[in-house]
């Protein structure tokens, strides 16, 4: 008789794995989640913005019990140079009404809560256990080997939600080796500040309203880098991520870069007097659409970061993870009815993903990672020009405006009209 301990084994208790576990357990499926950390969330990091929609479809009233920090009512974009900031953004009362668009969260707390929900739905979660490799028989994944004594487990289907460093997808040949241009190394500090100080500095009136700032520009010296500052109830999260290839090329250390960012004259006042509570690092898959792994094989599906599902432009990842976990669970439920867990049967997961916002969004931005690599001027020269031009216009120094405009036009000519027009055209052509 075929060995089987569970219907489904899920590897990794992050948003992807727990979403799948929640959905499967709710449908009465016998499911186990294997987590290597001391608890779900122990190893998990993100900048901190969680979009509600994907989870609300699964748990409509999750806001009642989930550990959320602030809902975001204002999102800002800052272009940084050494001594200046040119900014834009959107603050809207529409973001201040339920259902909120997104929240700042701490993943160590959030994932623990989400896992508890899956347990309540009937899933079994085993912590402190590392999955060493898949067990494959006649080309079909039938289980996993763990680092526990007698730790082999068997199931109809294994779902890999084991994150950016996914051993399972690598072992099964579903992903190529990750190369340095496809990932960003991101670090973050949580800096404790009194609630009122956070409110005052970011212009909100209570601990439930929050603000986000995304930062890029020539300050990061030509490296493809995104910084962020997010408000929590009694702390501010500040961090930045840079493409690993750029770090190697520039011989740059990401913590040094974070310290430099913290000292920027526009950033320093926001965190001044705060006490760092934690420092953390994590890799983010930023290769986009072309970096996505193969999503299934016989008896096996891949979700979340393990499948490289991150939309870096919109800082979306955890919601894509949840969506993929749900769709993998849906696929299993259909396959179970047929009693067929072959690659052909599980290919329905690929189709569901293709029709979801996850793949549609990633496909739309498919050329962006390469473009950012090729067109360094988008993050350096052009923002620097815009910052300098804005300074000239704002600075009243006795020079006639008409002469200032002339000088700015000269600088545009120096950047190259044709090159700028071509860059604008390329962006328009490639992102749609």
């Amino acid at each position: 008789m075929k060995k089987k301990d569970f219907d489904v084994i899920i590897v990794g208790a992050g948003p992807a794995g727990i979403a799948a576990a929640y959905k499967l357990a709710s449908a009465g499926v016998k499911v186990i989640v294997i987590e290597r950390g001391a608890f779900p969330g122990a190893k998990n990091v993100m900048g901190g913005i969680f979009y509600r929609k994907a989870l609300a479809d699964l748990i409509p009233d999750f806001e009642k019990t989930a550990p959320l920090e602030r809902h975001i009512i204002e999102q800002k974009m800052w272009l940084l140079s050494e001594d200046s900031v040119l900014g834009g953004g959107l603050r809207s009362e529409k973001f201040n009404k339920e259902p909120y668009n997104c929240y700042s969260v701490f993943r160590a707390k959030f994932d623990k809560w989400f896992a508890q929900k899956a347990i309540e739905a009937g899933a079994l979660i085993i912590n402190e256990t590392v999955v060493k490799e898949p067990i494959v028989e006649n080309g079909k994944v039938i289980g996993i080997k763990t680092d526990r004594p007698d730790g082999d487990l068997y199931a109809d289907v294994v779902i890999a939600a084991d994150g950016i460093n996914s051993l399972l997808t690598k072992a099964l040949g579903l992903r190529e080796s990750i190369t340095p241009e496809k990932v960003a190394l991101t670090v973050k500090e949580v800096i404790g500040l009194p609630e009122k100080v956070v409110n005052d500095r970011f212009g909100v009136i209570n601990k439930h309203e929050g603000v986000t700032i995304e930062l890029t520009g020539p300050f990061f010296e030509g490296m493809t880098t995104m910084g962020f500052i997010y408000t929590n109830k009694t702390s501010v999260s500040i961090g930045l991520g840079a493409i690993v290839e750029d770090l190697v090329h520039h011989k740059a250390n990401i913590n040094d870069m974070l310290e430099k960012l913290k000292a920027h004259p526009a950033v320093k006042p926001l965190i001044h007097g705060g006490e760092t509570k934690e420092y953390m690092a994590h890799m983010i898959p930023e290769g986009g659409y072309f970096a996505i792994t193969k999503l299934y094989t016989d008896g096996f599906m891949v979700c979340g970061d393990a499948a490289m599902l991150v939309n870096a432009v919109h800082r979306e990842g955890s919601n894509l993870a949840i969506e993929s976990g749900k769709l993998a669970a849906d696929t299993y439920l259909k396959a179970k009815k047929k009693g067929d867990f072959s690659a052909k049967s599980l290919s329905a997961y690929q189709k569901k993903m293709k029709n979801s916002f996850v793949m549609k969004d990633l496909k739309m931005y498919r050329h962006l990672p390469k473009m950012m690599e090729d067109k360094r001027q988008l993050l350096t020269k052009y923002p620097q020009f815009a910052i300098d031009a804005a300074y000239d216009i704002y600075n009243i120094d006795g020079v006639a405006k008409i002469d200032k405009i002339k000088a700015i036009k000269k600088r545009v000519a120096k950047l190259g009209y044709i090159r700028m027009a071509k860059d604008a055209f390329d962006m328009w052509r490639k992102i749609r």
Binding site: G41, P180, L185, K251, M283
Partner: protein, 91 residues
């Protein structure tokens, strides 16, 4: 803030039985020009002693991001044993 001071803020359960990180080829670091591991790692796990011509790996501090194995093909990177390694409070 120095990285040494930040490490005090991170919760770890250190596996005293040994490192989950190693370089799998002898003397390869001596010939390595860039030594990317020594500056890319966000917690300074890797240090190269020029005099001794030796790479030291302070695996206790590792936060398991995996960046080192992407910049160096000779780094043998494993997850720490179940339950060991970093455990974030916030994350």
């Amino acid at each position: 803030m120095r990285i040494e001071d930040k490490l005090y803020l991170i919760g770890y359960k250190v596996d005293e039985d040994g490192s989950h990180l190693e370089v799998n080829k002898k003397d390869v670091c001596k010939k390595c020009k860039n030594k990317a591991c020594t500056f890319v790692c966000p917690v300074d796990v890797y240090k190269y002693d020029e005099k001794e011509e030796k790479l030291s790996i302070n695996y206790d501090a590792c936060v398991e991001c995996g960046t080192c194995k992407i910049v160096c093909e000779y780094i043998e990177w494993r997850y720490p044993r179940g339950g060991f390694g970093v455990a974030y409070k916030f994350g």
